[in-house]
Symmetry: C2
Subunit: 218 residues, 2 copies
Amino acid sequence: MQEKDISIAVIKRLPRYYRYLGELLENDVVRISSKELSEKMKVTASQIRQDLNNFGGFGQQGYGYNVEYLYEEIGKILGLDKQYNVIIIGAGNLGQALANYIDFERRGFFVKAIFDVNPRLEGISIRGVEIQMIEYLEEFVKSNTIHIAALTVPKLKAPAAAKELVNLGIKAIWNFAPTDLNLPPDVLVENVHLAESLMTLSYRLKEIDDAELEGTEE
Amino acid sequence: MQEKDISIAVIKRLPRYYRYLGELLENDVVRISSKELSEKMKVTASQIRQDLNNFGGFGQQGYGYNVEYLYEEIGKILGLDKQYNVIIIGAGNLGQALANYIDFERRGFFVKAIFDVNPRLEGISIRGVEIQMIEYLEEFVKSNTIHIAALTVPKLKAPAAAKELVNLGIKAIWNFAPTDLNLPPDVLVENVHLAESLMTLSYRLKEIDDAELEGTEE
DNA sequence: TAGATTGTTAATCGATTAACAATC
DNA sequence: TAGATTGTTAATCGATTAACAATC
């Protein structure tokens, strides 16, 4: 159905388009041109049109794009018209934060179970889902269809946990552990490396300080 | 001191180099060539050398790079030799998760205060830092040097909170709210958009499904 | 000295932007 | 029909990779 080899740069921009279109929709905006949208989003109109045309022509010459239609279409491209069953491995603050984030459900991501090794967390319920002991992971995954596992365990435990998940047949891991998981190529991994994100901020802070200190140098 | 206009792509790779070098250091590896490192990290040796040489020559012909030295130098480039005072706005699960993440401190990021609007959270202590009511934010920021504010409030409250932070003189915001903050150009914003990260995963999952269904098409 | 590997220039590749014909 | 704006091709720009002389 879809054309070939969409670049990662394009894919990463899609959720942002989706977000802006969602907001326009909420504000009852019916149509928008690539130019208007580009001004709001601070990107070029050319890039928007180029990006969208990777997936087909969603607009109309002389008119622009119908907001609702484009919103729905990008949703489909992102796979948001489907339902995903998610389990969370690691019920620390971060795991609990993910479980509590109700907006994921709105996008089709349903937290079906949360696992931890800490017996003191057993049975605690987060939005109706009880924290289970990790011993029950295998049974649970084998008797349920799980599409995505969010991995929020400590760094040192992450590689073994990931391997276990893969052994159980999980094909997509949302990894929050500050390490790279070395998994078979058919397993999707999406990393969220918070420490790395923070370091780009300190880099830029330092840059500003340096510039101020340098004064008149060119 | 530093040359000009390092691309964002390069900057984003630095923390990952830093992480790998840190692990090598822990394993008492003394030296490494760009080729060896490239194999571990699954990037090209050329890219590593090119990236590093944006900041100066850290290696030695015929030898490679001294792991400890390079680790320290990248740390300096990232500004990790400095200390940053951080406040967290929003003491929900995510805010608490950040406050609990002890590794940030190891990198020089110190959580000095946590604020929330919820009176039931007042006084709860996270790693020695008590959650304060948001009313005390102004006083606190005015009487302390704060380098970074982590913003973990709900989407709708984020823009106003960010504006307030900027008014108080904060120059760097680590934004976890699923929205773009429109702030003056001298304020640094680093976004962590978890929902967008998750959507790239559903995109790729969908892609695989499509490919399987298509079967013999080329 | 010979071998290894950097630092750096040149070549390639890919992504972004500009331009414009097609068309609503 | 005239005006607007897309879809798409062409031009530009920037990032990655390859190559190799410099040098440890």
